[in-house]
Amino acid sequence: MLKTMLELGKIHFKEYTIYKSNFYLFTLNRIVEVIVYIFVWQAIYMQTGDAGGYTIEEMVTYYILVVTLSSIVLWGVNEDMAHAIRNGRINKELLSPISYFKYYFGIYLGEIGFAIPVSVAVLIICSIFWHIVLPTSWINMLLFLLVIVLILPTSFFIPEYR
């Protein structure tokens, strides 16, 4: 059953990558977002010299991570579902030999398969241009990684409505 879902994920992923520019555009889009945040915070730091005790580097790191991770979290299947309902494709989805839930879990795997490389690319490119502050302890680092793993099922079951 997992194999069928993976196949669905694969085909959905392929659909994304048919347009190779998709990958670059999404990545660029995210980086622009980072730049905007950083400009805003640089302006604030220039005015006040301080924001709640965080250094500008820490603030920049925070925003790079926010944008990086949100490109995984915000990626859901809710839009695909809404589309399918409106254009009638849902009929065919409901007639497939696996349940609607599993069908969309497969699609979700494809989405994530596309979103994660985008996130990684954003993180790498940003870390070239800006200094990223590392966590202060290993425990913090591990907890952070745990949260990222937990994001995946959460963002499937509780999609962000855009």
Binding site: K92, L94, L95, I98
Partner: protein, 266 residues
Amino acid sequence: MSLIEVKNLTKTYKIIKKEDGLMGYFKNLIRPKYEEFKAVKNINFNIEEGELVGYIGENGAGKSTTIKMLTGLLTPTSGEIIIDGIIPYEKRIENNKKIGAVFGQKTQLWWDLPVIESFRLIKKMYKIPEGEYRKNLKNFTELLQLEDLLEKQVKNLSLGQKMRCEIAATFLHIPKIVYLDEPTIGLDVLVKENIRKFIKDINKEKKTTVILTTHDLKDIEDVCDRIILLDKGQIIYDYGKIEDIHMKEAELEDILKEIYRGAKIC
């Protein structure tokens, strides 16, 4: 027991009644008024394995509504449907494994990908054994002339090409029952003929039961061996054998026209 058993099947749609004006709009938001519309009224029929049934009637007669109930997409308001021993809307997935369906021009193929990718996914989803998949694909490619289409992106296919691929996709797992809701809509004569012949061939070879709705009487004459005629949600004609109609020495078209006008024959 028949393969498909339909007893006293009724479907009533609930429609929100629109009121005019801004006040009406807000009234509707708070307490919507519903109107009921009976699309299918108390119909009965049995279909045996291997039958080719033409399900026809005027626009809005309730054909698609019936097909949607048979496939398990819609739940009947009342009445019974038993398909190969199961109730389709209760055991949807189990039923889905045994059926195939085409709805007019809506495609199940993956729009941006080559046709063959959709076929491969179908193979995985229905767990079609490799050998059987190859055999069917080869057979269908020949019958529906798909050689040059398989590597093309679905979005680049013409309507007729798409429909041939769609039909192949629907039959690929050799379903026991296939529902075709207007499969020949908008197609040219040759493609129509091609598709009709395909349906007949598969039916002969695999005993696939086919229920087909159409407005093209040639579809009926060439493919079906039985017609069920629906009018305003009611079955007004279920003649069994299509030869019997021809025995009346009139063209099918004339007979249907007469029935559509409300005159009863029999």
